[in-house]
């Protein structure tokens, strides 16, 4: 796997073109929520269905970006990023279900015959603490898991299998009703966020803009990191960790930093995903979702920052289209995509574009 392609793509294809394309896509994405505000009968009106769909895909793009930071740059293939995404979602879900329940208990607690909130639910009625939880929950889990994992120097595939076992354990835990997160149903039936009605056009547009801002912010952060010395050390960690140690760098600190950062980004994406989609439940943590995220990054092109966004957009766009047009053949298409990308597109779509760009 050679050097961070993001920079070479930009240099090769000429900075003006990538910026041009980037600006174009950004303009379209900004226009969407504004068009949504138009009255329904106006021909340019963008329906709530499309807005939530694109919003959902943007959240998945942030997850793909976060996964690319750890996999493309530091060589850590995590098959458990769905867990961090879901933890962020659950933190926001707790706040939303407290909002929907007013001062009473959230609906699902009635059949568990709980009369008062468990300790971890305290404070979730105010938005700021919920935001802290969105960052703290995935961040702390990543810190603890990462500290142990990187201290013991487990490598490559072992690390991936451990992360898969972690997200599987998380799913089982959240499926239990006694854990107090709504068991199999999770949280749904949200009504208000920060006092605004969650189904109002204004709220939907604001949520969309927030997701877009988070995406652009994390992209900028990614570029900054890739260009800094930190990014180069990360690439060195991926390629020759021993050599790096003998140059006096402690790779554990670097891996832990990027691992926790990536988990927090996933948590934030999850927090923005839930109010737009309207439901969060343990199946988000299933190992299948996390592996699908890995294919977005692989399809887009590891180690490039734009690649995974393209990958996430393409795969999820196909998923929405396939499950409507050819419901039975979607899994064939996804399976073929997995095999095709790993065999014929090792550097992903961006790699393809770069090669075409060079000819």
């Amino acid at each position: 796997m050679n050097q961070p392609l993001a920079i070479t793509v930009a240099q090769k294809a000429g900075p003006k073109v990538t910026l041009g394309v980037g600006a174009l896509v950004l303009a379209v994405l900004i226009a969407l929520p504004l068009l949504h505000l138009l009255p329904a009968d106006n021909v340019l009106h963008v329906s709530a269905y499309t807005l939530t769909l694109v919003g959902k895909i943007l959240c998945y793009c942030i997850v793909a970006l976060a996964l690319d930071l750890v996999w493309g740059y530091a060589g850590l293939l995590s098959l458990g990023h769905g867990l961090f995404f879901a933890l962020g979602g659950y933190a926001m879900g707790m706040y939303l279900s407290r909002e929907a329940a007013g001062d009473g208990l959230p609906a699902f607690m009635s059949f568990l015959a709980w009369t008062e909130l468990p300790w971890y639910w305290y404070g979730t009625s105010n938005f700021l603490w919920a935001l802290c939880l969105v960052v703290l929950a995935p961040g702390l889990l990543a810190l603890v898991f990462g500290f142990f994992a990187f201290r013991s120097r487990i490598k490559g595939v072992y690390f991936s299998i451990m992360t898969q076992a972690l997200t599987f354990a998380g799913m089982l835990l959240f499926f239990r009703n006694e854990t107090g997160f709504g068991g199999n149903n999770g949280f749904t039936g949200f009504t208000r966020i920060l006092g605004f009605d969650i189904t109002a056009q204004g709220t939907r547009a604001a949520l969309f803009i927030a997701t877009l801002a988070l995406l652009v912010g994390s992209l900028y952060l990614g570029f900054k990191l890739a260009r800094s010395k930190f990014g180069r050390v990360l690439t060195a960690v991926r390629d020759a960790e021993n050599r790096l140690m003998f140059c006096g760098y402690d790779p554990r600190g670097y891996k832990l930093f990027i691992w926790v950062l990536s988990a927090v980004l996933c948590g934030l994406a999850g927090a923005l995903y839930v109010p737009q989609v309207g439901i969060i439940n343990p199946s988000e943590m299933s190992p299948t979702n996390s592996i699908e995220a890995a294919v977005w990054v692989a399809l887009g092109g590891r180690g490039t920052l734009i690649g995974p966004l393209l990958g996430a957009g393409l795969v999820n766009g196909m998923k929405s289209w396939f499950t409507v047009a050819f419901p039975e053949y979607w899994l064939f298409a996804l399976g073929a995509l997995f095999i095709g990308v790993t065999l014929y597109l090792p550097k992903g779509v961006i790699g393809l574009l770069r090669k075409r760009g060079e000819q």
């Binding site: 239990r176 149903n185 409507v324």
Partner: protein, 422 residues
Amino acid sequence: MKRRPLLKSTLAASALLLSGLFPFTVQAAETIKVGILHSLSGTMAISETSLKDMALMTIDEINAKGGVLGKQLEPVVVDPASNWPLFAERARQLLSQDKVDVTFGCWTSVSRKSVLPVYEELNGLLFYPVQYEGEELSPNVFYTGAAPNQQAIPAVEYLMSEDGGAAKRYFLLGTDYVYPRTTNKILRAFLHSKGVADKDIQEVYTPFGHSDYQTIVANIKKFSAGGKTAVISTVNGDSNVPFYKELANQGIEATDIPVVAFSVGEEELRGIDTKPLVGQLAAWNYFQSVENPVNSAFVAKWKAYAKAKNLPGADKAVTNDPMEATYVGINMWAQAVEKAGSTDVDKVRDAMAGQTFAAPSGYTLTMDATNHHLHKPVMIGEVQEDGQFEVVWQTEGPLRAQPWSPYIEGNDKKPDYAVKSN
């Protein structure tokens, strides 16, 4: 020259991305759009595929008789793939993109809960064909499956009766999700009202896809040593096979410890070797083995349809309670539209009240005037060798549904008519 190919391919890529989002459907003027929202892949495909096929058969039947209000019914089938957020997305697409007038769909409670906000927001109409835990009454949903008082409670009454084995102790075994939790909560309160002490009730939950029931069966045996025991099983469809196999292999017969199940129907029995299950019980509002002219016609029609469309396993096609509920639901909706003279949701909702239909279960089912539930008869069936059920007990006539179970405190204040949940 170099730059243009790059520009073209990136634009092409984003075009594909955006085109995937606006599925354009040509608006055919003269048909009534009917949405079918059942999982055709993923874990729930096992139960929901047959409901989709039953819905299509009923629609063909109605179209053959001239459709509704002179218009043909056009089914719109989508696959939410047992993925709950996808249910919500597909529901929104059916209502806002395809503009369907009614939707028949969902199976698990979580899929219903995830689409409920969408139907209430866009004032759509959903028919839910599966028995469920109650505690919900939305103006946009008609529940053609059984409420707890139309399935769980009569089953326990039968177990308490002399014929049912006069059980003294009850082992409530279920999969850990909201339907078993709520049903067991109602049953525990009901058992207390019948004087059964807490030490004679044991509640055990297993995770989804649990396949090793050795410890659970050992627990049941230990528990049953304390007195005549009955097991009330709300185990989810898939996990029933390992449970019953382990029960039989450990030498427990229905005569020593009867097991009544609420989610084992003819469809699930197709996948199980029924020899060790003979004598085990199931409670439903309909069994395929029920003998009456309406049912024999219904079963014959279904078998012919399965063979004609050569559905997988068509030779062993069976009908079960949710399929009957789907059949009744679609016919009642058609009658309501004819009565209301339009497919507008509010008009149809009012027209639905009091609708009656001669159902394959041998009774005429009536839609309750206010609480959106069907009056349904309850039957207890015993598993036979051929994978069918033999009805050993049934209520005299249809029972009125109680969505707000009296056995959960605070329910008496809940209104008996539909009100929006938020």
